[in-house]
Symmetry: D2
Subunit: 343 residues, 4 copies
């Protein structure tokens, strides 16, 4: 920790800060410059809150040197995490990128849903997505089929052999969702629902954690840290677009650079969701490919048997035919370029 004192800080103020730090076991090095004094404090920063130092009179600023996340950090684990999702599917560096596809929400029309599930299977994707619990901005919109939706998912898994990923929105539902799902998803709007993070930290299923729309990468990795600290090391990160100043042509800004950044600072696998990020069908294929080539370990894509009748997010869902075309492009990229060059 670097503590920068104000130019007019008194000797007494400097001493007060020094005492506090030493009491917490830090070793101090003083740099007394012409303009101001800077104290470098070497020790375990988790023993003290930087803000509590920043509040001392005479302190201008406190700067961190180490990242505040630990279990999720590349420093604590040099090798990439590869997570076993079941049925032979693995996600992480060295594995073929994993595709999760399906409708935004599981709906009444079970036959249509199964049609999508079979198309997902045939396209070479490994995981079926579909929301049974749906976070909706407005209370007047479809909120999901809840447990009935989970049953539809389970049945689709049985019929197709796909794995299942679905969202949980509340800590009370974690056990139930984990009973049905192979991967439990935390939605973007719950990325800092810490009670929920703690709850999924106690299950033995992998967790797909979506980045909050205004979360910094550090906050995102700290949310993963909450889950890992509670006991579950199998966290998959998902970049799904951040809020920007321009939502005229795309809903959010897909932050593709987050992929190589996360891969540098963390050992966890990271995927891209081009459907929610852009909210536009024609952007799904180029953004999916851009994400993969930037190093993403997988994709999450929306497809619906009849997007015009979808209860949610129809505008960004591909039809089955469009999905098949997009998957052909994606598989071509993976087979011809990503796998050969990653060797």
């Amino acid at each position: 920790m670097i503590i920068i004192m104000e130019p007019d800080a008194t000797e007494e103020q400097i001493q007060r800060v020094a005492d506090k730090m030493e009491n917490h076991g830090f070793r101090l090095v003083f740099n007394r410059g012409d303009v101001m004094t800077v104290i470098a404090a070497i020790g375990d920063k988790r023993l003290i809150e930087p803000q509590s130092i920043a509040s001392y009179e005479g302190v201008r600023e406190v700067k961190l040197i180490q990242e505040p996340f630990k279990l999720a950090s590349r420093e604590s684990q040099k090798t990439d995490s590869v997570i076993d999702l079941g049925r032979g599917v693995k996600i992480g560096n060295g594995e073929r990128p994993v595709v999760m596809a399906g409708p935004c929400s599981v709906e009444d029309n079970q036959e249509g849903f199964l049609r999508v599930a079979h198309a997902v299977k045939e396209s070479g994707a490994e995981i079926l997505r579909g929301g049974a619990f749906k976070p909706r901005t407005s209370p007047y919109e479809f909120q999901g089929l809840e447990e009935e939706g989970l049953k539809y998912l389970a049945q689709a898994r049985e019929e197709t052999g796909l794995l299942i990923v679905t969202e949980v929105m509340d800590s009370v539902d974690v056990e139930m969702v984990a009973d049905y799902a192979d991967i439990v998803q935390i939605g973007a709007r719950n990325m800092q629902n810490f009670k929920l993070l703690k709850a999924v930290g106690k299950i033995d299923k992998p967790v797909l954690l979506k980045r909050g729309p205004s979360a910094t990468i550090r906050e995102f990795l700290l949310a993963a840290e909450h889950i890992m600290y509670a006991g579950n090391r199998n966290v998959i990160l998902c970049e799904r677009g951040i809020k920007g100043f321009d939502s005229t042509y795309a809903r959010n800004t897909l932050d593709i650079a987050a992929v190589p950044i996360i891969r540098k600072y963390s050992h966890l696998p990271v995927i891209i969701d081009p459907s929610h990020a852009t909210g536009r069908r024609y952007l799904v294929a180029p953004m999916a490919k851009a994400g993969l080539i930037a190093g993403a370990h997988g994709l999450m894509i929306e497809v619906h048997h009849d997007p015009d009748k979808a209860y949610s997010d129809g505008a960004q869902s591909l039809t089955i035919e469009q999905y098949q075309k997009v998957m052909k492009e994606i598989n071509e990229l993976i087979d011809k370029f990503i796998i050969p060059t990653s060797k």
Copy 2:
């Protein structure tokens, strides 16, 4: 709803959209221009999701005419809501602005907490704040005293006669928190935790809803709508700073214009939290006064008996002496200018 077709939309595509809208009971007016066709659809937009129309082939864009929130809207209720908080304290237009003050979190040192509570009472503030459940970005930081903290709050209320506002983070804790608190707070990071919004929509205590750091005003009012739709009409909104591109000198950007905007579009009371918004002590007084003069119905301010030792957010907490000075300025502004000119 205004449906704008692509310039090259076919007659068949236009007809398909028209059929869907008419099936949902909308009355249509067609504008066939030189460049493109525009369909104005008059009806209850809650019967159809705009996005499901936007996904039709040949549709360029769907624009809403009416705001999607209803119970929270000025259109549904012309007169300002004035909420009775208990013990004779009311919040809303025409009432003296209400001040909620106290430490960020309730801590072990009960004696220090009571010292703050008495200072809050003496300053003329009506409500004591203090977190028993603390949402923390990092799992290594203090997470709150939980029920023990609620007991400290209740005792402070008994000793001082102040009302109590405190945060609830999880739907399972709503009943317990509502038993202790006079006002139940939803934190900014839970603004779109819809299960929690629904849960506080079923209690009979007023809810203080904080704006999410990247929530638009529309999303903010829709979050209030979730609570109101579940049954609880007593929602107080709190602007506490939004994420911006510059966090060097202040943590967030306090969006003071949100106050007059919300007052135009909604009948709900709205307050300002200058402490969390700025994260800097010297900005609390100017931002508090700016918020009040822009029309805020109240303030939330952090004060701690010993900020240097605070478990959380010490840097933005005022000392008791600083708080007393700030409150003197605030009361002067209210007495000399806000109350006289609001008559």
Copy 3:
């Protein structure tokens, strides 16, 4: 400057950085921690670019300790700058806040313009604003009357005794504009037009510098530094709204906290433009008052004799009657609260 080395930086890499810094006259203090080495370099940071150090192999990050602006900084000048604008009008701490008002652009209708000028004079404002050169997002919009507009401004000054502020957009026009104007304005979109900053740095008229819509406060003060470094110390800063993620209800986010922040870090006067910031008439009065109470040294307000017919920005312009009402509120706030409490 604080140079933080990577945890795995080699001794050779550390030495290379040290050599470079010492060659530039810096005195170094080494902190060798368990995790990484941190070098504190004391010296004149203007002698070396931090980025050139950041690019060395083995360097994780370079952190500045001192602000990069100097002439504009509070450290270089403790007392507030008070700028003499002519005709007895001064702007800065201790002076009555100055109001600049007038139409967005000077238009053909000279009679209407003079009507506004007289209303501005009668309201107690000191300065008439009006654009002769207009930066317009689209080439199909009115671009200003150019020199003819400057003549209209000069004539209005003669008739009313008001001072004149108007924008210059190109370095070639600086002399001409400075001949007519009492204050030369740099628009938000030109805040980093460095050739233009340099050009106005060489005139002897005060400069009103508007903050760019995505400029950090540091970049804003560095833009002022460009002008001051070129020779002109009379810079007035103007906060006029920054770009945010929500432009539904207001064009930009007025960053009122920038006022007390700038006053802490700089000695230059700072004003608020609530008209451009919000783009909505009903927000002008509350935001103007909020800015003043937060410490602004002045205001810039748009008023037009017939906003429905304005060539630009009609939606945010007040009518003369609305303006008179807003000015009554503003003068009341200044007389009853701001002047008494600032003593």
Copy 4:
């Protein structure tokens, strides 16, 4: 144009709006709903400013239907623009992506610069970049060699056969820069320097227009429209990162989705600058490849013979060796995937 009236708009207010629109030659269609009246106005929106309508009493909102740019729009020109840059190099759909590479600024060390130029040539890139006029946030940083730098560029062209792209910052320098350069660049901070846009609109060299850090895509295309409207149709757009809320790990957010969006709405070629966007060497290769696969028609990459000694932006510049490695990856992607699949 869609004009949405307030729910309580009077018949007289509606009539006033209607009169104004009809006077400007618009044909009107009225939708009188239960809640409010909506007027659809069919006509040439360039004849009236939407904001001037928005300012009428009783008007809630004015929504545009057509994009405000015309010459730059896909509607005005269906086929992609392919721009001839000279020496047989073309940029645009169907052509091999063009690479522009070189140091951020042209510096004193001419020998080093020529070394870079030869490396650029050998890598297969077609264009040499290098700034002779440098926009710098601080006045204390290197501002460029000006005309001397242009001469160095010209000499490097002579020696290598590469084309030259370099920035012009002020309208007075446009002719001189155009004399030396093959492509004239407008920097991000000058994207809305309309006098400069107009000036480069009058030369016969192609213009590379960089997106402003907070410019929406619409504003970006309108800036191109300024150049085209002034007479120069050869505009190349460059996405170089937008300002976001997280600059910890990358300087800006590279908005890769802007590439397919621009390609949908405009016929102009668009390239990506991963060096300025990210400010980090290790992000250049993944972001360059992601941009290409999303459809970019070219790249701009920084390379320096000795980044540690660069006068500007060293941290993001590749060494010659790193550049060669990155170009190998890029050429492999182009040859193996982009060219084969674009057929």
